[in-house]
């Protein structure tokens, strides 16, 4: 039977991400948050399930839609929220912002404004591990759209050739901005792309946190024990538009409804309650607790100072 601590951890992180993203949406609407933010709501099971399969000394690389990964990789809600608002107390001192959340000390090698931009880095981190002979692994996240970028293929080839401990996770939410996988990729089953590199691949239900966790765990174990890289496609969905102004003309309300019904959070809660691992009350409590934490983080961020003008020129060279 499932461990209760784990159930709480998974559920709590998913709730944190969802509420964090809902809060950002609210702050964007109020112009408290400026600029864009690509929100992770709907996709929580992927980041949470996958990263729960890691040790704390393992690495991840993230994407332009990186809040979820950052939270799941032990991110501090306050420092993340402050970063997104561009405050001095942000995890990157307000210099990175939503698109560049990173915390190398915690193994998060960073979100990335460039689609596909971190796939090479992840591979390099894998090389580093292999050369240092530690038994860490790297989880490399990217979207379906990113699998059309040259560096994706170049990197998978090298990882497979050199048998690097990298798990490549494609978060297939069926669209790259407005362009569906149908209109962007010659193959609909994205796991086929690994065939070009003889890399083991599989597709997993990205709305099911346990399924993701299980699949990633297996691949992590392989990578840790020197069996090389793998490619996992997690089918999922993003609930919000690509950006705030996106009217979502490229997809139907029915399709959205279909995926809303598979919402990873209530589904996992329900399952845990059914299995007697958590009570409804505990779930409600957890939700409240998370709400509290998000409110605190928001307050913290809003009350935080802006960077000093001098900081424009600091942190450039080591």
């Amino acid at each position: 039977m499932m461990d209760k601590t784990l159930a709480v951890q998974l559920l709590k992180q998913m709730m944190e991400i969802r509420q964090f993203e809902d809060k950002i949406m609210e702050l964007l609407a109020k112009n408290v948050a400026e600029g864009g933010s690509h929100l992770y709501a709907g996709m929580e099971a992927v980041a949470v399930g996958a990263i729960s399969a890691l040790r704390t000394d393992d690495y991840i690389t993230s994407t332009h839609r990186g809040h979820g990964h950052a939270i799941a990789k032990d991110g501090d809600l306050k420092a993340l929220m402050a970063e997104i608002l561009g405050r001095k107390t942000g995890v990157c001192k307000g210099k990175g912002g939503s698109l560049h959340l990173a915390d190398v000390s915690k193994g998060n090698l960073g979100a990335n404004g460039v689609v596909g931009g971190s796939i090479g880095l992840a591979t390099g981190a894998g090389l580093s591990i292999k050369m240092k002979k530690t038994d860490q692994v790297v989880l490399c996240f990217f979207g379906d759209g990113a699998t059309n970028q040259g560096i994706f293929y170049e990197s998978l080839n090298i990882a497979s050739l050199w048998q690097l401990p990298v798990i490549y996770i494609c978060e297939n939410n069926f669209y790259g901005m407005s362009v569906s996988v149908k209109r962007a990729s010659a193959v609909q089953d994205l796991s086929k792309k690994a065939l070009a590199f003889d890399m083991p691949a599989e597709t997993v239900d990205g709305m099911d946190v346990l399924a993701v966790r299980e699949s990633v765990s297996r691949r992590v174990n392989q990578a840790r024990s020197g069996q090389g890289p793998s490619f996992i496609v997690a089918n999922t969905y993003r609930y919000y538009g690509h950006s705030r102004s996106d009217p979502r003309v490229y997809r139907t309300r029915e399709e959205e409804k279909f995926w809303r019904e598979r919402d990873p959070i209530p589904n996992f809660s329900r399952k845990m309650i059914e299995q007697g691992i958590l009570s409804q009350e505990e779930v409600t409590q957890l939700e409240e607790q998370v709400k509290q934490a998000i409110e605190e983080a928001t307050e913290y961020a809003i009350d935080s100072p802006w960077p000093e003008p001098e900081e424009l020129y600091t942190d450039l060279y080591a």
Binding site: E34, G35, G36, E83, G86, R87, K88, C92, G94, K95, G96, G97, S98, L99, H100, N112, G113, V114, V115, G116, G117, G145, A146, N148, Q149, G150, G176, M177, S178, V179, R183, A184, S185, D246, V249, Y250, W306, P307, P309, E311, L312, Y313, L316
Partner: protein
Amino acid sequence: MREITYRQALNEALDEELTRDRAVFVAGEDVAIYGGAYGVTADLWKKYGDDRVKDTPISESAIVGLGIGAALTGLRPVVEIMYIDFIPLALEQINNQAAKIRYMFGGKCKVPLTIRTEGGAGRTLGAHHSQSLEAWLIHIPGLKVVMPATPADAKGLLKSSIRDDNPVVFIEHKMLYNTKGPVPEEEYLVPIGRAEVKKPGRDVSIITYSRMLLFSLEAAVSLEKEGISAEVVDLRTLLPMDVESIVKTVKKTHRVVIVEEDCKTGGTGAEIGMTIMENAFDELDAPIKRVAGADVPMPKSPVLERLAIPDPERICQAVKEVLR
């Protein structure tokens, strides 16, 4: 004259050229159904269909490659790279192929390709969505580089770019899309390679382009109140640069401030400055000043982002310094 936005002006240019010439087509990420990340290609897909307005995969290098191959074989592609920050992904194709093919092949072919892209800061999008990389592009012989600041120039120059038989990189600015200005209803072209004095003046020349034109004009208005008459020159095209217009304004005012949004070191302003050095040194009564972007990646924080690029106040200061 009617006033429309920079965005609409660009949209009209594309629409008119698509109608005028069957060889023209538009391709890029999210240009079709979505109408472009900043709405420039809105409704064109509905009007012209998948065949002439094409969504592409996220494959910047191949997008430009496609455009070159199509241009080389008789079409007039207009491809879009969503942010200039992603131009480096396609730079091998732009630099080594698009710009060089004609010369390398002894002038026996042409590459009538337009690459539309968009740059600049102002929306607190951070270091990967706020760059100004035009300086790289002016260092590529064989290219033309166009950077309009007003809706009228945007329309007239985009039409000229599409009709040009050479590869043109056409750089829009994200903070200009919503700006409005007078744009003729009738068809017109703005020639590539000609600067324009956007405000005449006597005491100092402010030489600039793209969004910094707006800040420079603002500065000029403030300066006027203090009795300083600044001439504001909008380069509009960066390659080929309009040396004649630059020399003319220097001969008139003898003092120059260059205003550019890109990072100062190795930026476009350096070339503008040296052009003056080489063509009008004896006309200068004071050293040229550059007001430029800070030499840092663009920080996210709005307070730092504002400091990282020129503003009207700093332009005024620089003007006063060159007048001292």
